[in-house]
Amino acid sequence: MKAMEKKTGTEQKEQRAEATPPIDVYENDQEFLLVADMPGVSQGEAEVSLEEDRLVVRAKSPFRRYHRELLVPPSVDGEHVSAAMKAGVLTVHLPKRAPYRPRQIEVRGT
């Protein structure tokens, strides 16, 4: 249903009027780290949500609106995503599910 709604004309037009913030994605064994530049956006004006397999970022500054959607890999643990906004920069931590994290297995002697 959501995908259908997206295709209506007015929705498309509104999206074009929005700015696409530049994004960096970093990764380590434990998580993905997403960093987005959105100058003018204060903490209360940024919204991050997971919609199925997409991470949706929406924000509002006194000058413009920002909107960005990214595909999230299945390894991400959606329950533990956290986000913070500081000095116009959004950071989102996307931890990986346990089965996707490397695990050290102790080798025991007998």
Partner: protein, 146 residues
């Protein structure tokens, strides 16, 4: 012969009618943009409101400690630097953000009040306000019927 020495220089005495031409050019620079010299791209906007100049610069990730604002001889200069490093212990998967490194200067002229200028950094946006000198502000004059 006339030698062009930069935007700040006054045109020479008007012998060949250059003065009007250059006044026009000077005006174009001052009114349209007010920008003098710069390096590095940074989204910025300077507006002339009633009674003051307002400069707004987008500098995400920067705090008041990273930005330098200088007002000297009617020229406003804003500069800053933000190196972009991969966070420790992470590998980069996608990099779209760019390093912030800029210096931009704007000619405001001498009819300003530098003492009352203010600069404020909030949510990665720098706002500099420079009031015009008293007497330079627009004033409407009431017309009395007689």
């Amino acid at each position: 012969m006339f030698e062009y020495r930069g935007l700040l220089d006054r045109p020479p005495r008007d012998i060949f009618g250059w003065e009007d031409l250059f006044r026009g050019f000077d005006r174009f620079v001052r009114d349209f943009d007010r920008e003098l010299t710069s390096f590095g791209y940074v989204p910025s906007e300077i507006t002339e409101e009633d009674g003051r100049f307002v400069l707004r610069v987008e500098a995400p990730g920067l705090t008041e400690k990273d930005v330098k604002v200088d007002l000297n001889g009617g020229v406003l200069t804003v500069s800053a630097q933000r190196p972009l490093e991969v966070p420790k212990g992470y590998g980069a998967r996608r990099r779209e953000r760019t390093e912030t490194r800029f210096s931009r200067s704007f000619v405001l002229g001498d009819k300003i009040d530098p003492e009352k200028a203010t600069a404020d950094m909030k949510d990665g946006v720098l706002t500099v306000m420079v009031p015009k000198a008293a007497g330079q502000q627009r004033k409407s004059i009431a017309i009395k019927a007689s």
